[in-house]
Symmetry: C2
Subunit: 711 residues, 2 copies
Amino acid sequence: MARLPLPLPAMLPLLLLAVLSVTAAAASSRPHPLDPLTLAEITAVRAAVLASPLVPARPLTFHYVGLDEPDKPDVLAYAYGGGTPGRRARRQPLQRRALVIARAGGQSHELRVDVAQNGSAADAATVLSHAIHRGAGFPTLTLEEQFAAVALPPAYPPFVESVRRRGVDMADVLCAVFPVGWFGDAGAPRRVAKMLCFVAGATANFYARPIEGVAMVVDLDRMAIVGYRDRVAYPVPKAEGTDYRAGKAGPPLAGPQPAPGLVVQPEGRGFHIDGNIVRWANWEFHVGFDMRAGTVISLASVHDADAGTRRRVLYRGFVSEVFVPYMDPVEEWYYRTFLDTGEYGLGLWAFPLQPGADCPANTAYFDGSYAGQDGKPVGGENRICVFERYAGDVAWRHTEAGFPDRLITEVRPDVTLVVRMVVSPGNNDYILDWEFKTSGSIKFVVSLTGLLEVKGTPYTHADEITADAHGTLVSENTLAIYHDHYVTYHLDLDVDGTNNSFVKNVITTKRNTGDPATGGADTPRRSYWTVRREVAQTEADGEVDVDAGPADLLFVNPGKKTRLGNEIGYRLITSGATAASVLADDDFPQRRASYTKKQVRVTPYSKSEKWAAGLYADQSTGDDGLAAWSGRNRGIMDKDIVPWYTLGLHHIPYQEDFPVMPTLSGGFELRPSNFFERNPILGARPPASTHGHSANRVMPGDVFAGKTQVI
Amino acid sequence: MARLPLPLPAMLPLLLLAVLSVTAAAASSRPHPLDPLTLAEITAVRAAVLASPLVPARPLTFHYVGLDEPDKPDVLAYAYGGGTPGRRARRQPLQRRALVIARAGGQSHELRVDVAQNGSAADAATVLSHAIHRGAGFPTLTLEEQFAAVALPPAYPPFVESVRRRGVDMADVLCAVFPVGWFGDAGAPRRVAKMLCFVAGATANFYARPIEGVAMVVDLDRMAIVGYRDRVAYPVPKAEGTDYRAGKAGPPLAGPQPAPGLVVQPEGRGFHIDGNIVRWANWEFHVGFDMRAGTVISLASVHDADAGTRRRVLYRGFVSEVFVPYMDPVEEWYYRTFLDTGEYGLGLWAFPLQPGADCPANTAYFDGSYAGQDGKPVGGENRICVFERYAGDVAWRHTEAGFPDRLITEVRPDVTLVVRMVVSPGNNDYILDWEFKTSGSIKFVVSLTGLLEVKGTPYTHADEITADAHGTLVSENTLAIYHDHYVTYHLDLDVDGTNNSFVKNVITTKRNTGDPATGGADTPRRSYWTVRREVAQTEADGEVDVDAGPADLLFVNPGKKTRLGNEIGYRLITSGATAASVLADDDFPQRRASYTKKQVRVTPYSKSEKWAAGLYADQSTGDDGLAAWSGRNRGIMDKDIVPWYTLGLHHIPYQEDFPVMPTLSGGFELRPSNFFERNPILGARPPASTHGHSANRVMPGDVFAGKTQVI
């Protein structure tokens, strides 16, 4: 053994340094405060809840287990230290806590559980608090109870008789669970759902083959059928032409076949994953998974190359609710007014992404772990994918033809980073993309696909339809019912800091007065437009119909300005899918999702205000959701504010949507607007030369006119 | 030599077959009737015009030389024979004619020229007709006259003095030509333009450095400066921070650098080019180039795999006009209300696309030939690119979790075909994409980039601004002026045939009456929406503000129905950029482009109605454009109709847009809607397996709940 070259006291600083290094290394293997619960943590949480004397009733079923986020100031301090992103050396681990919503004894229990800090002693978790939910609504349905419920009808004699009467083989029958909604009932509700059934038989597309007119009510707590109705018998639509599986959709592969293509990255991927942190180009953000929200993006910050600093953009963003009301008032359809996030859970209904199909080959995947109904962890593979998108787009370009002696062209191709999840809550599929751009923009794209929700009908030709059919005849005996999709994003923007304001720059026509003092001039021009700045004072000002008139909608940091004195901000730009609900205000589904009448709302940050239709969305009454909160009309100026954006689509189905719907996309963008001092990708690297040409070249002037190249 | 095995009469049919084959082969080397004029044809046209006694005045300058399209019925007969696409065996060559607009003797001459049919005798072209344009407006400016004009100021003493007074080196000065517009002058106008000047110096971005307050008037026919004004002197903005060229934008390449990527097509390209016809997947269309319109897509038809037929979608589509009004009424700005198509020419200002930058590596290019001012042909290389886009999107998918024993996922990745042109008429760049989808959709995307048009100002900080500055301070002494972009598409849809109707399916809220006869039901649901069908009778009905209320806008073939009795149609779906003009109706620029108040117009087909702001757009008065034509309120029901869509953006500039603007995109889609009997890509091939998984796999049920995979 080598002699110590220094006396011990002289070595102390070095030893301390070593200890500090070890601590730093350990910190990176320790979960980030916003990391989803690990499998071990879920196990620990389950043990703590089952061991707690606070919920003695059994059976106890777990409807939600997820991270109970630390307080925002603590997370900000952890992530950004003294307030500046990047200074994280002395970050302190934060207490890991879980939120559990469980059913037991006919009640909804809300528990907060302390998860052991160092993650080692799994059974050291303890229940910190317990409350019984007394208000309206029930928690998210578990997958297990839905599977248990749909196992009941084949043994339920009235249903057996209904199926027999229709000449259908019970072995071909599949049922699904449909929330009942809320329609004004003031009494104490039972936790029930409807069950509607379908015929699979020769097709995987059982949704295309409803046993129309038959509905059951299942009591989910008792797991028993408590209501039954066989109201009317319509033909079950044929199986032929409904399957979408390769080889079953005959004639086999008769459709157009474009050439296969593959993105190759000669220098490898451009993004780096460290735990749940993704770093790519100028972006850094945390990717979380939640069994209710699905993907949660947190702590998104962008590096400002000119300032040499990392700057905050978004504290947290996720899909808060998806409202899907159908437009047929008939008995088996009037309640189909789904709240996919609250009733079903987007994370629960996100299934494994298919490599090379849902996401291209150059993709990394995140798993999404959640708790089963028994509280045990489920390690869901490939729930979120991350890939660089090479779509052939251009980040910026210019051709300058104004010089007499040369033609200058500079082009920077665009590469973006996509974070994708696909959610399939029943018949519909939602492809939910976050697209980060080097320009500082974040684009949100929702692509609808999957299967239509159809109604059995005697009609086989449109000419037979005389009354309002509430849908489109998409196949014989098959009406695809009109419906809407409202995808509501919770977007806790922190534009360059916590306190922000919402500014509407309203585009306003002016007459030319001829008077310079009012912006006019003595010219023949008669009109122009200018910008009328409106700063939203309260939540009522924060409600905006984006189609009501032209305006730039900005989230600004009133405490910070550019060197030129412009307010630092991000702008909301819509890109299709701006439908707002047209249901009557007093209609019950609309009361439960009344926030869908305006695309934009802005609330002051409140840790508990996450779910637009309420935490307990199943059978909710609208008394604890986004509209109720913002109805308090709180101040939102120069505060920590949360914009909510509802992307909406009215869907009149067409025959092309059957039996599976070609993707229909809509989206919006958050774009830096006086956030940077200048174009932040001015310094982007030009592409390598291809085909013997430099990709950006100065050409002699004679290739264009002036001195035309005469042939 | 082998003996003839058959007597001559018996061989005749074989010989005839051989002759027919040769004819067919020759036909494909002969130009398609919609092909742009070839270099030889332009040469022939020039010779014919110069030799014609109809225009004796000299000098004669060519402002437009392009294909004078054959009559639509003739083209349809050529392309589709007996009306059905695909039957083209007996196609007859059509007379090739050119339209020439020339200036001579202070007049605009319109000539139609017969181009020799077989293309062999180049000098056989003859002038068929000649007319002098007596109405308002002048033809498109030539590139050469603009270069000639901007050469005048450095030798114009008052300008030399103005430049000297500002301490600017004339060697650094560049000028540009700006159309004067029209502001109510009733007298006979001269063909003049404004000239405004800039300082390049150390930057390529001279547009960022205006010599504000100085303006000249140039008489383009006399090529002399006829007006001069040095109204006010503001500081010329600094060159520092304005250049966008790689290596000049310092600090060098400090921006975010994503990983390079390349699309590889292992089986090669999926599209085939035959002359100007492109065939890809289920699409076939003709790509043309016009010095005014840029890209012209014609005879787009889609193969219907189920029907086994090729079906018509679009007869002809192109960008008819681009209106860009600025919003500063001051003397040097009030007339900046550009009509980029009519005044400058999109094809003329389309420059060579940069391979690997403007378009990815897997790209084919079309040249775009046009005539110089002297009438001689210019062979413009790489003006249009065509590539398959692998953006990581999904064509359709579904995950079916409803079976108790398996999880089915079927995904079809999306590959699309993009036809792109980039137009750079001055400071702005427009990336104009046609995107064909196997689903039958055509998407139109306009991406704005390039340089802002800025105004010199004494301001260096926003706090100094007290009156309306009409723009955003984007750099010291640099105001980026508010403006709009309106890109108007002429889209002669022929949905499954020539005669179409325009249908608005208006989404209408209904109270639930409880009465089935009116669509109600005895349920607690209080409201729903349904569709009120409105068939546009006349052009007034065809004017639609797409943001005024929810509706599906359809172009249907009233003579054809699906097997289910639904009207065969295509639907217009907007995707951002739906701004309409807010200028006063009586303002002169608005009168010239009054069609920009509504996004949608529909006119009956008229061969001469191509240019929304008129054929003679320079100094046009609005008396011969889209609004004037549709003001006749002609019938548009069950007729050959032409939809016009105006994509609009109000642009409040931000600092990020300086010195070069990150791309901002908007678009719209034409989507088959009851055109096909079912999803036309149901039979699309699933992707090959990757990473050892089949890309579409049936998974055991225990990966998800029901039987949860407990870890």
